[in-house]
């Protein structure tokens, strides 16, 4: 029934494989490796790929991976135990060859495992056939019949109690009747004999639960009384509790504001000539700070800097003897045996077990949560690290803490490394060579900094010599279009159009408020293509992930316009919300696009990074959920506060005590 079974080393060499069906399985197993093991999702050991479901097991002592694959529609119960058995048998048999360091033995050895495998498979299949499904317990055998009815009543009010009691009794009656009769035919419209409330069983199978019509009427009356009285009850109770103060009879007069006038003309502060078609600001004093930033953003983005305390982390393993010296101080309070046992644990090879890692992992999980990583992501990460380290043999002079910490650090760096190339400038050049604009769409919830970071990114792009068209597709928020226009004017004043042969570097494409965003985006892209702009930056309105109509509108904008890059803007302050936001955004984009290859989020912009000192967990949550890289990091509100992500610095800040 199994499609395939492979045993391969972590270095990539397949040691033995069994193929039940024709067709190569390298593809599915590679997909398993890439999506599960490399993305640290090895908490659950089941992975579904197309029509195939795969279960796997990591052997960390000899660096092997065991994978079994079978059809998704089958439910085979013996697979887990079978995997364990195969692993044990394989290890026992080939222990000598596997223990060698270096790949020569793996290459030269031939692993004739076929017979053992068939035998184990036969045993596993027979064991499932052997145990028949257990027969159902009768009601008298169950625990419920042992309980008295009184113990099941919650006394919240006398009436309710009695009603529940009658219900329970009649339910008991029904169950017993059905148990006694087996699968007897239900007697519809059973006898309406007056069933006394506390008596025993008479098979009543009608829908009234064995109550007579009189009783039903009585219950209904009580119910209505209670409902009618219920409204009065709170007020009556409150009136009984405390004497209500008399309402002060007082007429509210109009409040007199000092500065306010009845004349609204005084309140109009708009400068009448701002609405004109001026595209650039004159170079006044206000632009002085802007001009200071001119020329700072050329080339690739700088990465986020941190005082790197990473040297301390790497020296940790070497200096663990010092840590070992520090540890006895803790255990000196314990008995002498404790000290001896701990020292013995340091020297010599010991393989890690789940119990050893449990306390360390709990502490690390709490540490991660304290650093603003989403709670379930922290637990999934810790489970995955546990799976990766289980059974691994530690060297001498390494403690469990240091091994687990190092493994967690490695997996965090691995998560933050981008899985694809992130080079926006190169892609823009490529699009320019193909004579089409490079379209970037920004989406996100309200107030995360989409428009601000859009302005920063356009500053970076024009510093590197590209021309930018900003499409104002936020047609909802008041002032959105004006905000973008202000940015456009400032940017153009810094890079005057005379540099560019008379054409302004940044232009704004807007159609006012209240229009359809997808239509504006489409027109903007067509405009950019006809006027040969290099980049189109599309700003959308902020929307909550639960707001279904807005999510549909966003999905439509993205599906219709097919942008080159869909960036999700998230702030670094967000905590567990990040998981919810990203999952729902991705789901909406995937569900509401008509094509079979929907565009989902391609990259993440992490904003407000300067507001967190080292609680940088949001970066981990976001990359873990989507698997997409963090393309930009926003560290402030001026134009040059745009950085790229430095994975090592972020992880060292995260693991700092």
């Amino acid at each position: 029934m199994l499609d395939f079974f492979t045993i391969f080393s972590k270095g990539g060499l397949v040691l033995w494989c069994f193929q039940g069906v024709n067709g190569s399985f390298t593809g599915p197993v590679n997909a398993l490796i890439r999506s599960v093991i490399l993305q640290e999702r090895s908490g659950s050991n089941l992975f579904i790929h197309d029509a195939l479901s795969m279960k796997y097991k990591l052997d960390n002592e000899f660096e092997l991976v065991f994978v079994v694959g079978f059809q998704k529609i089958l439910t085979l119960t013996y697979v887990d135990k079978f995997l364990d058995d195969v692993q044990l048998r394989f290890r026992d048999r080939y222990k000598n060859q596997l223990e060698q360091k270096g790949a020569m033995k793996l290459l030269n050895g031939s692993f004739q495992f076929q017979d053992d495998f068939q035998q184990l498979l036969r045993e596993a299949e027979e064991s499932t056939k052997a145990c028949a499904p257990a027969p159902m317990k009768t009601f008298m055998q169950s625990q419920k019949s042992q309980k008295t009815v009184k113990s099941m009543i919650e006394t919240r009010g006398g009436e309710k109690g009695k009603e529940k009691e009658s219900n329970k009794k009649s339910k008991n009656a029904k169950k017993e009747a059905s148990a006694a009769e087996g699968d007897g035919d239900s007697t519809r419209g059973g006898t309406q004999s007056g069933l006394p409330k506390k008596s025993s069983p008479k098979p009543q199978e009608n829908g009234n639960e064995g109550l007579t019509p009189e009783e039903i009427k009585r219950n209904q009356q009580e119910f209505f009384r209670r409902m009618g009285g219920g409204a009065k009850k709170p007020s009556s109770s409150s009136s009984s509790k405390s004497p209500k103060p008399e309402k002060l009879q007082r007429v509210k007069g109009n409040r007199e504001w000092v500065m306010g006038g009845t004349n609204t003309k005084e309140l109009d502060y708009s400068n009448k000539d701002m609405n004109g078609s001026q595209d650039t600001l004159p170079a006044t004093k206000d632009n002085a700070e802007d001009l200071k930033q001119l020329g700072q953003m050329k080339g690739d983005l700088r990465s986020v800097d941190y005082e790197s305390s990473e040297e301390e982390e790497e020296d940790e393993e070497v200096v663990v003897s010092a840590a070992a010296a520090a540890n006895p101080s803790k255990s000196s309070s314990k008995s002498f045996r404790g000290v001896f046992g701990m020292l013995k644990g340091l020297v010599g090879s010991k393989s890690l077990s789940q119990e050893d890692m449990e306390p360390v992992l709990d502490k690390l999980r709490d540490h991660l949560i304290a650093k603003n990583v989403a709670a379930d992501i922290a637990s999934k990460l810790c489970e995955s690290v546990a799976k990766k380290l289980e059974g691994k043999v530690m060297g001498t002079f390494t403690t469990v803490t240091s091994t687990v910490k190092q493994a967690l650090q490695d997996s965090l760096v691995q998560i933050l490394q981008p899985k694809r190339r992130v080079d926006i400038l190169r892609d823009v050049m490529e699009a320019r060579a193909q004579r089409r604009p490079f379209v970037v769409t920004f989406c996100g919830v309200n107030g995360v900094g989409k428009s601000t970071n859009l302005a920063k990114i356009s500053f970076w792009l024009i510093e590197n010599g590209f021309s930018v068209l900003i499409a104002a597709c936020d047609t909802f928020r008041a002032g959105a279009v004006e905000q973008l226009r202000t940015h456009q004017r400032r940017l153009n004043s810094m890079h005057p159009p005379e540099e560019n042969g008379g054409r302004p570097r940044v232009q704004l494409y807007e159609k006012g408020y209240g229009k359809d965003a997808a239509g504006i985006a489409m027109e903007a892209i067509a405009y950019a293509r006809s006027h040969s702009f290099d980049v189109v930056l599309v700003d959308t309105a902020g929307r909550m992930q639960d707001n279904a109509p807005l999510m549909v509108a966003l999905a439509k904008l993205i599906a219709v316009n097919m942008p080159d890059l869909v960036l999700f803007v998230g702030e670094a302050l967000v905590g567990n919300e990040a998981v919810d936001q990203l999952v729902k955004f991705n789901q909406a984009l995937a569900d509401h696009s008509m094509s079979d290859k929907p565009r989902i989020i391609d990259g993440i912009v992490l904003t407000k990074f300067d507001t967190i000192d080292d609680k940088v967990g949001a970066a981990i949550s976001m990359t873990y959920i989507t698997g997409q890289p963090i393309v930009f990091v926003g560290t402030g509100q001026t134009y040059s506060d745009l950085r790229s992500l430095n994975a090592r610095a972020v992880v060292s800040a995260l693991m700092k005590a």
């Binding site: 390298t26 490796i33 983005l301």
Partner: protein
């Protein structure tokens, strides 16, 4: 004058030695042993840092693990995506003498940087494996990886020999080594512009290395690099059936020349 300062010390030491005091003798012997062992360890560790490894790097699915298996045992083995590195001693065929350690690094994007980081200081030569059949699609990724290797400060300092192996030549659509070389040169030229524009204006740490590839003002060519660069073609799978011989003659010759 200094001799005068040392003279009383020397006199006292001589007196102690002549006195044959066991404690002083023991201390002196211990000192001598410590000094000798320090010198010895310095020599040993110094020798260890001489580079003796050949790294097999490349993008995911380019065939590094299969080349590794072919070079070492000549057999064809099924392979999966590597999660960790594999290393073993490799001795050049038909030649006795210095073998080196052949290290196969994983190519997956999330693992690549940390493994290259770990092993780059020990590299005597770097075999960069390229999948010639899908090269056109992956051109930019290949060029970016090559760029990051070539601008890494430590690699530039050590200047290990670079052998660009165009693998999978058994597929009919595979590009030849010449074509790959030309396209890589063009692509690295463009990358130079996008990445190194930062060097002149910024003084913070830049994303890539701080090295400028090739010569300024001229188009980039591999001959401008400080290290020896060679392009070879090979087919790890072999032109016949699976169990046939692999065509890695050129690669083996290159490796022999290096050692």
């Amino acid at each position: 004058m200094e001799a005068a300062v040392f003279q009383p010390f020397l006199d006292s030491i001589q007196k102690e030695l002549q006195a044959q005091d066991p404690a002083v003798l023991a201390v002196l012997v211990a000192l001598v042993v410590v000094i000798i062992s320090i010198i010895f360890m310095k020599i040993v560790w110094g020798r260890k840092t001489t580079r003796s490894a050949v790294l097999l790097v490349g993008l995911c699915d380019s065939g590094k693990t299969l080349i590794f298996s072919r070079l070492l045992s000549g057999k064809f083995k099924k392979t999966q995506t590597s999660i960790t590195d594999s290393s073993t001693i490799y001795s050049v065929k038909r030649e006795k003498g210095c073998g080196f350690t052949l290290i196969d690094l994983p190519g997956h994007e999330s693992l690549r940087p940390q493994f290259v980081e770990r092993f780059k200081s020990a590299a005597r030569a770097v075999v960069f494996v390229v999948d010639s059949a899908v090269f056109q699609k992956e051109l930019r990724d290949v060029a970016e990886f090559l760029y990051s290797l070539l601008t890494d400060a430590e690699i530039v300092k050590n200047a290990p020999a670079l052998v660009v192996t165009c693998n999978k030549q058994d597929i009919t659509m595979a590009k030849s080594a010449k074509v790959i070389q030309q396209q890589l040169e063009k692509e690295l030229n463009t990358l130079r512009v996008t990445r190194s524009a930062a060097l002149s204006t910024q003084d913070g740490s830049t994303a890539g290395g701080t090295v400028y590839l090739g010569k300024k003002g001229k188009d980039f060519e591999f001959s401008q690099l400080p290290m020896k660069v060679e392009f070879v073609e090979c087919s790890a799978k072999g032109y016949k059936a699976e169990d046939g011989e692999a065509d890695i003659e050129q690669l083996e010759k290159c490796l022999a020349r290096i050692s």
